[in-house]
């Protein structure tokens, strides 16, 4: 019997050693339900067993942090008595199997994390990673993921305001769907996912429990090649209408102070919500699965406990508030059931009626064993980085520019964001495509909040440490380009199988890079998500995704009317480059898209220069001196300048050699991706003031040229190119619509 159970433990994701730990922890042979519950809680998805030691090294503190890691979402103070809740989460594996529902339920889950904190969701952003755009697999996945996000977010009525779309061969079978949500709340409504005091009752609210999503947490923690087809029912189906009702009811319960604790039922459903709430309170729980609403008959306690049916919440309610809570839920026509009580002691007890099926120490199941390894860099990656393959000659710069402007990852994403309702709630001040970050106002205050998601797969593949630093730097730069001061980060750490030492190495390096950059730019990480085992088999080869530490960053504007967008507003503005252009083409979009070359060292990230350039940009915007700014990232300065002409059809003439270091190649001037660069447009009347301010703040700056005309004119030394803005527009807008038709 014991041996039989030990072998069954592996079905629930427990290794033999972990099973032994469980036996030791309970002091007897565990029941099958205990094994199932522990397996779910000790999965990577819930227990972070491979990542927790690394995550502990990340900075999470700062005067602005109201809630750091460990709750449903992080919260930062934005003044005026308000908190900004934000969090990012992945739905990678479900989206690989069923893109529409996989992505849709990803939106649903992250929204519940936000309103469980007491915050009203105000925006969604998505970071999506796919294989080559024109591969049939991508043409199946991408439209499905977009439809899933649109279908859910649009119906709930939360605008999807921004995102980041990147392509790389290694995402082909294992796309990434990382979704970030933001919410705003009065600070005093900040909630905790706790059971509260002994005697409180646990109230289950929302969708009845079915067999859908069974074992999803375990599924998400296994690699796709072995798990996907058999686990098809592990993908859940979303109901945004129900979510909307649950959202409104939850916020009303919190606003009227009728509940002591709130938790969304996400990964591992009832199991993790109840276990985590008990752990945070340091209490025991008595749960009766017989009282859990079900949509199917004959469900076993294990199925009920592990189901990941969507749109479910758990509340802890003081007995005196029972009737008031039920009245609210009835008004929203929501199903609810009293499923347990908070008890003295430290036991997580699961009953079915009178029968006790599990009796586990709360701390044991919440403190998954952790694994640390010493990673080893992949020799192939090291060789690719240390042996940069030379690039062929540039050829025609006009062709190179228009090709790059149409390249997946740079081309306009209009075809995607026009499917998202980005205006609902009437707070979207800067809509998708108009600037480097989204900006939302907070009605009733002068405030704005800004948000962005960033990461470059090529940089991270070649050098995960530098790639992670660059992701943080770019996110902060994007916020600075709309005039927002960065406040905090939510990270989504997507990697392959951490048991492989070369993947673990990537995790170690990426986390170290995040740590350094977040400390330097004063953006504590208030929470996030880890998604491992993102790999697939291609014949005999195992392909891991590029290390993908997605950075979601939020910031604030004291006066939302003082913000910047990327489009040139009219003729006659002086164009300045802040920062330096170095001959950095390794890992660039130019090298990848025009020459299929992904070798060498990615651009260096000078965090001190970044901080100075970004602060100067923010201050110029906040003081009303500048309302046009755009950073240099994928595709370099030439792409930045081209993109600035598009929104309002205003051309420009610029000397791309300005600000280029001695000996920089023409390709480097045009398409090099040196970090820490921002282009601003300065109205003529402010030129002298801006120049003096930049000198005083020790920011390198260079005059590129001026806005005007209907062409993009780039010159260097004694040569120049001229491209009509409408030609650029055709290139930029032409790529994605066909795939999304």
């Amino acid at each position: 019997m014991t041996n039989d159970l030990a072998s069954r433990a592996s079905e629930f994701g427990l290794t033999p050693n972990e099973y032994a730990l469980l036996v030791e922890g309970v002091g007897r042979t565990p029941t099958l339900l205990e094994i199932a519950v522990t397996g779910a809680l000790w999965s990577e998805h819930c227990g972070y067993k491979n990542s927790r030691p690394l995550l502990r090294t990340l900075p999470s503190e700062g005067p602005q942090v109201l809630q750091g890691p460990g709750e449903n979402a992080g919260v930062v103070d934005i003044g005026h008595g308000l908190g900004l809740a934000f969090k990012m989460e992945s739905h990678n594996h479900p989206s690989a199997v069923e893109p529409v529902q996989g992505a849709a339920t990803g939106v649903g889950g992250i929204l519940r994390d936000i309103f469980a904190m007491g915050a009203r969701p105000i925006a969604v952003l998505d970071a999506l990673r796919f294989g080559p755009l024109h591969h049939p697999r991508t043409r199946f996945l991408l439209p499905g993921v977009v439809d899933g996000i649109a279908g859910y977010g649009n119906a709930v009525g939360v605008p999807t305001v921004g995102g980041d779309l990147q392509f790389h061969d290694a995402y082909l079978e294992n796309p990434l769907v990382n979704v970030m949500a933001l919410g705003v709340m009065p600070v005093e409504r900040l909630q905790s996912g706790t059971v509260g005091d002994v005697g409180n009752e646990l109230l289950y609210v929302g969708s009845p429990t079915g067999r859908d999503g069974l074992g999803g947490a375990v599924f998400a923690s296994a690699d796709l090649s072995t798990a996907s087809s058999e686990d098809r029912p592990a993908v859940q189906v979303g109901d945004p209408f129900l979510e909307k009702l649950v959202l409104e009811a939850t916020l009303e319960l919190i606003e009227r102070d009728l509940v002591d604790g709130v938790q969304d039922m996400g990964a591992a459903g009832l199991t993790s919500s109840v276990a985590e709430m008990a752990y945070r309170a340091g209490r025991g729980v008595h749960l009766d699965v017989a009282r859990v609403p079900r949509r199917e008959s004959g469900m076993t306690p294990i199925e009920i406990m592990l189901s990941e049916s969507q749109e479910r919440m758990m509340f802890s309610v003081h007995p005196s508030q029972r009737d008031a809570v039920l009245e609210v839920l009835a008004r929203y026509e929501l199903e609810a059931a009293w499923v347990g009580q908070v008890i003295e002691g430290d036991r997580f007890q699961i009953y079915e009626g009178e029968t006790l099926h599990a009796d586990l120490p709360v701390a044991l199941v919440n403190e998954a064993p952790t694994y640390t390894r010493e990673g080893i860099e992949s020799p192939a990656i090291r060789t690719a980085r240390e042996t940069a393959q030379p690039l062929p000659p540039l050829g025609d710069p006009v062709t190179a520019l228009t090709t790059l402007l149409a390249a997946p990852g740079i081309a306009s994403t209009r075809a995607i964001w026009e499917r998202y309702d980005h205006d609902v709630r009437t707070d979207t001040v800067v809509a998708p495509g108009a600037a480097d970050a989204a900006v939302l106002r907070i009605k009733g205050t002068p405030l704005g909040v800004a948000a962005t998601v960033d990461q470059n797969p090529r940089y991270c593949r070649l050098d995960p440490f530098e790639g992670a630093r660059l992701a943080v730097a770019e996110a902060a730069r994007n916020l600075s380009c709309v005039g927002a001061t960065p406040l905090g980060v939510t990270d989504n750490l997507n990697f392959g199988n951490p048991e492989r030492l070369e993947v673990y190495y990537e995790m170690q390096q990426a986390v170290a890079g995040l740590r350094e950059a977040c400390l330097a730019l004063d953006t504590p990480i208030t929470g996030g998500n880890v998604s491992l085992y993102n790999e697939w088999r291609d014949g005999d080869a195992t392909i891991a995704i590029p290390p993908t530490p997605t950075v979601g960053m939020v910031g604030k504007l004291e006066d939302v009317r003082r913000h910047a967008t990327l489009g040139l507003k009219g003729a006659g503005d002086q164009l300045l480059l802040l920062g330096w252009t170095r001959d950095e083409l390794s890992g660039s979009a130019y090298a990848a898209h025009l020459h299929g070359n992904e070798t060498g060292t990615p651009p260096r990230c000078d965090l001190d220069l970044e901080a100075r350039v970004q602060r100067a940009t923010r201050e110029l915007i906040a003081d009303g001196l500048v309302e046009t700014a755009h950073d240099c990232s994928d595709g370099g300065l030439a792409i930045t300048l081209a993109e600035m002409t598009l929104p309002h059809g205003v051309g420009l003439a610029a000397n791309v050699a300005a600000g280029a270091e001695e000996g920089c190649s023409l390709e480097g001037m045009l398409f090099g991706e040196s970090a820490g660069r921002i282009v601003i447009a300065v109205p003529a009347r402010h030129e002298a003031t801006v120049a003096a301010r930049l000198d005083a703040s020790d920011v390198p700056w260079h005059v590129l040229g001026r806005s005007g005309g209907s062409d993009l004119v780039l010159r260097w030394n004694d040569a120049r190119i001229r491209i009509p803005v409408e030609t650029l527009r055709t290139a930029h807008e032409g790529t994605l619509p066909e795939v999304l038709a």
Partner: protein, 253 residues
């Protein structure tokens, strides 16, 4: 044409009564409409739940956008059968002004307060973007009385926005001047590229026979603040508010 004072059937106050915004389960533009009327235009607003059988004393009714009941059946079909819709129908039949925006327009057609139907967009996808609409009539005293031939920039955000009806109905709508809004280019001229959903005759909004019920797919409440890019929606919402204020002043004189 109906005299405006007659709409004050449920009250006798000379001052304005609130504008009712009906909240169906799944409405998600109710707060946006509330903000536009109350915070921008400064009029009283009351949110009326779908389960209510009465509107109470109100001057006008707004059916907001969203996904009522998830729109899992035909868009607006379930909401049209909510208890409150009997009261809305009675209010409209007495000549009271009713504005349906997006999902509200779909509800009005499902409730047969307006003819035709809103079918799936011809490209089959949800679409959210700014469009241009031309005001086509001055026969709607509550909504567009002084703005005929204006071209307004308004956002659309819908999956089922393609207005369709049988030929006879279309001919009647056109012949009676009941096409209130039409999708056009920014210069006011019709063009297939200006129509975001394949609506027949580029129809973006229509009136009932008596001109007091307007259904429109674009969102005027989303174009009520230049910080968000356009104030053109205020021409429609403000027209309603001005008319009601004029009626109140007339009644008290």
């Amino acid at each position: 044409m109906l005299a405006c004072a007659e709409t004050k059937a449920e009250g006798d106050s000379a001052t304005n009564m609130p504008i009712a915004i009906v909240r169906f389960p799944g409405s998600n533009c109710d707060q946006d409409a509330e903000w536009a009327f109350r915070d921008v235009l400064g009029v009283d607003v009351t949110l009326v739940p779908h389960a209510s059988h009465e509107l109470g004393p109100v001057d006008a009714v707004v059916l907001p956008g969203g996904f009522s009941y998830g729109d899992y059946l035909r868009s607006g079909a379930l909401a049209a059968r909510s208890p409150i819709m009997q009261a809305v129908t009675a209010f409209a039949n007495r000549g009271g002004p009713v504005l349906g925006i997006c999902n509200g327009f779909q509800v009005l057609t499902e409730a047969r307060l307006l003819p035709g139907a809103l079918a799936r967009n011809d490209h089959l996808h949800f679409t959210c973007k700014d469009v241009h609409v031309r005001v086509e009539t001055d026969a709607a005293p509550y909504f567009t009385r002084t703005y005929r031939s204006d071209v307004l920039t308004l956002p659309v955000a819908h999956h089922d926005g393609r207005f369709d009806a049988d030929d006879e109905t279309i001919a009647r709508l056109e012949g009676e001047g009941r096409v209130a809004l039409r999708y056009v280019r920014s210069d006011g001229l019709p063009d297939p590229s200006a129509n975001p959903n394949g609506s027949r005759n580029d129809i973006a909004g229509i009136l009932n026979e008596t001109g007091n019920v307007l259904g429109m797919m674009p969102h005027p409440e989303r174009a009520a603040d230049d910080l968000l890019g356009s104030e053109d929606g205020l021409k429609i919402l403000g027209s309603l508010v001005d008319t009601l204020a004029g009626a109140a002043a007339g009644a008290s004189a």
